[in-house]
Symmetry: C2
Subunit: 176 residues, 2 copies
DNA sequence: TATTGTTATACTCTATAACTATA
DNA sequence: TATAGTTATAGAGTATAACAATA
């Protein structure tokens, strides 16, 4: 199946003949490449036994240790029950620790374990290799330019630096 | 606010905190913006009662009408049973038609209905508005440059033009 | 009564496998 | 026996709501 050409006027029943050009805009390329990059990154971190959400959680905890699960859920924009499941996973692997707060015993203060910190350290190397893989088509100058342009777009769109939108609750647009 | 290189080196301030810098690379920005753009697009097309997978299917059918579901599944890189569900949805809304092939009665030839073609026509306008929304931070020259750079990356990464990777089915991280 | 974390539950999405009807 | 489409089923992911402990 390699026929590139398709006759517009087929014999037989009259077709509506709709416009059918492929999307070439930057927005579609962003979606396409973003999904692709996410998949590739997922494959890489899977070698550490982690998922991309795991990474984000580890990173967020490392940024400000001792916070409650509620605070974490608020920052990431997810529902608290989801944090429970994610922390359960990381706790089961010995990467994070829940410590009952002495001030308010309802709270769980979250900390990275030593192993969690070590593993997070490995992630930086993986991220660098991933970056180099994805951008291997570009030279250094082009990479800088791309990074700058993407940064402008991300800032204007109101994206929180370092927080993946995948954590956020779906606005709408589910199947009807 | 221009990002003048990523000069976040050790400026001399003693950091008591663990290694917890947010990712600033282009690869993460791609993932972040790609997910964001996909969400926004989903919200827009939801007003037509459609989902992004629906759009991709309509577009692919319009590109070459009359193909079988099997052929469609192969092109998109999904399992045939998934095409059944997607076509069911579109068929139920009267946007596509299944026609038993007269040559091989096992096949279903897929066509857009008149309404399907009309709706797909509306999508182009929506896509243009979406593009303009996402890229509103950039002027025309910057948009061209961004599109060019993204095109280079997409080509090198082997992405099929116009086909969203979300359709692809890669179980354990294999890439074709 | 309000809040934190948890559990129970349901729903969406998507893949695998079994089944049918043709060939 | 082989193939196209379908149905049945299961699993991952994530949301909502009810619940227990604590304030």
């Amino acid at each position: 199946m390699s026929s590139e050409r398709q006759a517009a006027d087929e014999p037989g029943e009259p077709e509506p003949a709709p416009p059918a050009r492929p999307p070439r805009g930057a927005a579609f390329l962003l979606t396409q490449l973003g999904t692709h990059a996410a998949e590739r990154f997922a494959v890489r971190v899977a070698e550490l036994g982690l998922t991309p959400p795991d990474i984000g959680l580890l990173r967020t905890i490392a940024t400000r240790p001792g916070r409650s699960q509620r605070a974490l859920a608020a920052e990431l924009g997810v529902v608290p029950s989801r944090v429970v499941a994610l922390i359960d996973h990381l706790d089961g692997k010995g990467l994070v620790e829940r410590r009952r707060s002495t001030e308010d015993r309802r709270n769980h203060e979250l900390y990275l374990s030593e192993e969690g910190g070590r593993l997070l350290g490995e992630v930086w190397g993986i991220a660098a290799a991933h970056e180099d893989d994805i951008l291997s088509a570009l030279d250094d100058g082009q990479r800088d330019r791309l990074t700058e342009l993407l940064g402008l777009v991300a800032a204007q769109q109101g994206l929180t630096p370092g927080v993946h939108p995948g954590y956020r609750n779906l606005p709408d647009g589910r199947r009807s």
